[in-house]
């Protein structure tokens, strides 16, 4: 007797494992092994995949509003093999939904829900619900824009449940709003409660399955009997390996799973659920106002009730498919509806230009967020990181504070709606030249209260008396002045050139403008031209335009309507500084 079989005997005498194993493996398969029976085993394969990749991710994941996104980013981009584990979990979850659908369809078509297998049918439906629960809770955990906004919709739907809605929603969310407690709750559900429920129901499902055995097809030759091992199990493994291959290829092709920008309650985001919930999402579009609950709860509840009650409705002993068509028609209709609604939803999004544009912006933003994260995420989390980033923060500050009046590139109001000069190109020679030649152009003072305040240096004024004495400035002089001002804005110094142009400015411009603190007319309203457009000048202008650093205090007179307001009572100094730098950079084309 070999050493190995002696060991086996010793263990068997104490545990009886051989009997257990042969009970598990020698299960008869009446009618013979079939590919149609593989789905239950493939699901066990999916669950194994999800459990193992899930455990690996738990070693890195930190559920809180400041750490969740950062830890997922770290796992995906900072840990060897992290992207693959996350990708396999992500696509494994989707594979599981597909396989559940096949399993359900097979059981329904073979009539395996009929007596005496009703309870096992219900356990299966329970497992389907748990699978969807896993999808829903898992989707939120990365705490990125996609998961955050999609899941908010789902919990808000739960909140519309009659009577108990508010309580259900608050218990799920851990409060009235989304935050760290939502994450810890969803995490507890995803890695603790749902796996335990899944295991309990799965054990019951398998025990009852063994009790009643395989349901052979109605026309199967039941005199032929295969054993589960190895005949059926070989087919099952074929399915399991195919599933694993598809998941691995998808994970490899996508290099893991997508990660959007960190969840930002203040942002706009084109939220969509994961593809397998798109049909429910589309359904909601057809029910408005008080009828909404029909789409969000009533129809799904009716569908669930139909499935649960199917064994009581279809009670004829025959499992022949033809006779059961009326009973299965609703299920087929549900399948068609899911496919159709999903297609409609995809088509609607494809045709929706605004959505496509928002989608494109979100994709660009997510690339920027991930780039930023690579420089290190501060202790106060990824949103603080984005807020401090000059690029994103600058754009947000401009949008909030400046874009009501000023245009800058593609931001701000249309040219004819702007009530302040267009800042596109501000600080360049072209910008200054257009101001000298045609200050009342639509993109300069044309639509502002200051129309007519600055006189063109080439066009005669409208007042005939003044027009008589008007002498246009020579092009060479105009060029010298624009070059000087553009150099001031770019903060480049050229002393020789400066002296000449400065002299010209102090002779020709100071009847209206300040220049190095000097002016010929204390009541004039033109801004300081020394250092015009420099960082210091821009900062001073944003903080408070009436300090003589840019404009005179009279500019802030409440009667002088339409002047730029001060922002130092609204913005922190570091934001003023950041905004000034951002505007200069963007205006001059990122140079």
């Amino acid at each position: 007797m070999s050493w190995a079989s002696k060991m086996g005997d010793w263990l068997d005498a104490r545990t009886g494992y051989r009997a257990l194993l042969s009970h598990a493996l020698d299960e008869p398969v009446p009618g013979g092994a079939r590919w149609a029976y593989i789905w239950g085993s493939v699901l066990v394969g999916c669950i194994t995949l999800q459990a193992v990749t899930g455990w690996a991710m738990m070693a890195y994941y930190a559920p809180s509003a400041t750490t969740a996104w950062a830890s997922v980013e770290h796992l995906t981009y900072g840990v060897s093999g992290g992207w693959l584990v996350r990708g396999m979990h992500h696509f494994g979850a989707q594979a599981m939904i597909v396989v559940v659908a096949f399993h359900l369809a097979q059981v329904a078509i073979f009539g395996a829900y009929k007596a005496p297998r009703e309870v096992n049918w219900w356990l299966g439906l329970g497992l389907l619900g748990i699978t969807l629960g896993f999808s829903l809770t898992g989707y939120l955990l990365p705490w990125d824009q996609k998961g955050y906004w999609a899941t908010r919709v789902a919990t808000n739907i739960a909140g519309t449940t009659p009577v108990l809605g508010k309580a259900i929603q608050q218990v799920l969310q851990g409060g009235a709003e989304y935050g760290s407690l939502t994450l810890t709750r969803f995490y507890a559900l995803h890695v603790g409660v749902l796996p335990a429920l899944l295991l309990a129901l799965l054990v019951g499902h398998l025990v009852l399955f063994r009790r009643h055995g395989v349901t052979p097809g109605a026309s199967a030759d039941v005199s032929k009997v295969d054993r589960f091992y190895p005949t059926q199990l070989a087919k099952d493994l074929g399915g399991i390996l195919l599933m694993l291959l598809v998941v691995a290829v998808l994970a490899y092709r996508e290099h893991g799973a997508p990660l959007d920008c960190p969840a930002d309650p203040a942002s706009d985001y084109p939220a969509r659920p994961e593809w397998y919930f798109l049909s429910l999402f589309q359904l909601l579009k057809y029910f408005e106002g008080r009828l909404e609950v029909v789409g969000s709860l009533v129809i799904p509840a009716v569908a669930g009730a139909y499935m649960a009650l199917l064994p009581f409705w279809d009670r004829a002993p025959s499992r022949a498919l033809r006779r059961r068509i009326p009973y299965l028609l609703p299920l087929a209709a549900m399948g068609v509806a899911v496919v159709g609604l999903t297609a409609l939803s995809v088509r609607a999004d494809k045709r929706d230009e605004a959505f496509q544009k928002a989608r494109g912006t979100a994709t660009k933003r997510s690339v920027a967020c991930l780039d930023l994260a690579r420089k290190g995420i501060p202790p106060d989390g990824p949103l603080a990181m984005i807020r401090r980033d000059p690029e994103t923060r600058g754009a947000a500050l401009f949008q909030e504070n400046c874009a009501t009046c000023h245009r800058l590139n593609d931001m701000g109001p249309a040219v004819d709606k702007a009530t302040a000069p267009d800042l596109t190109g501000w600080g360049t020679t072209e910008w200054v030249m257009s101001m000298l030649e045609d200050p009342d152009a639509p993109h300069r003072f044309g639509h502002t209260p200051y129309k007519g305040e600055m006189l063109s240096l080439v066009k005669p004024p409208s007042d005939p008396k003044a027009a008589k004495t008007f002498k246009p400035m020579s092009e060479a002089d105009r060029r010298a002045i624009t070059a000087f001002l553009a150099a001031e804005a770019a903060e480049v110094k050229d002393p020789q050139h400066d002296a000449q142009a400065a002299k010209m400015i102090s002779q020709r411009c100071t009847s209206c403008h300040l220049f190095r603190g000097q002016t010929d007319d204390d009541d004039s309203s033109g801004p300081e031209l020394a250092g015009w457009g420099s960082l210091a000048w821009t900062r001073a202008q944003i903080a408070n335009p009436g300090t003589n650093a840019t404009y005179r205090p009279s500019a802030m007179d409440p009667n002088s309507k339409g002047h730029m307001p001060r922002f130092d009572d609204k913005l922190e100094p570091e934001d003023v500084n950041l905004l000034a730098g951002w505007v200069r950079k963007k205006a001059r084309g990122d140079k």
Partner: protein, 175 residues
Amino acid sequence: MADGDGDRRSVLKTIVVGGSAIFGAGVAAPAVQVAIAPAMGNRQAEGRWIKVARLSDLKDGEPRRVPIIAEMVDAWTKYNRENLGAVWLMKNRDEVHALSVTCPHLGCGVEKTNTGFGCPCHTSAFDAAGKRLSGPAPRDMDSLEARVIGDGSERSVEVRFKKFRQGVPEREEIG
């Protein structure tokens, strides 16, 4: 059972065993890779010079414990200033010596005693220069490079901060 059937069964058994092995490996491999990632590619972190005290804060012959505060990256978080550890500084005129406060035995914090230094956990004792006198510590206290920079009242002490593996007789730097 016909021979053909027996052959078929054994082929199927091989398929099942092989297929199970492929599935097991396919699922486990990436998870194991991620799980053991911290032990792989153990890069040796270069010790950083960190300013820890003003020279005028130290007195000759009186060891002083100072915290090491510097930039730190912990997994995904980047701290601009965070406590990394502490050192004992000993001044002798213009020279400063630094000893790690971490006991080379099992990592407790070494304290000042009447005879030099001692570990409160397993009672290892060291002399005033950090040399092992008694107890389970496998080596002397770990000394760190220290230097004095600047002039006059602005003179300050910098330490090249490193961490070492505990419980082994040889000093071994850890990342």
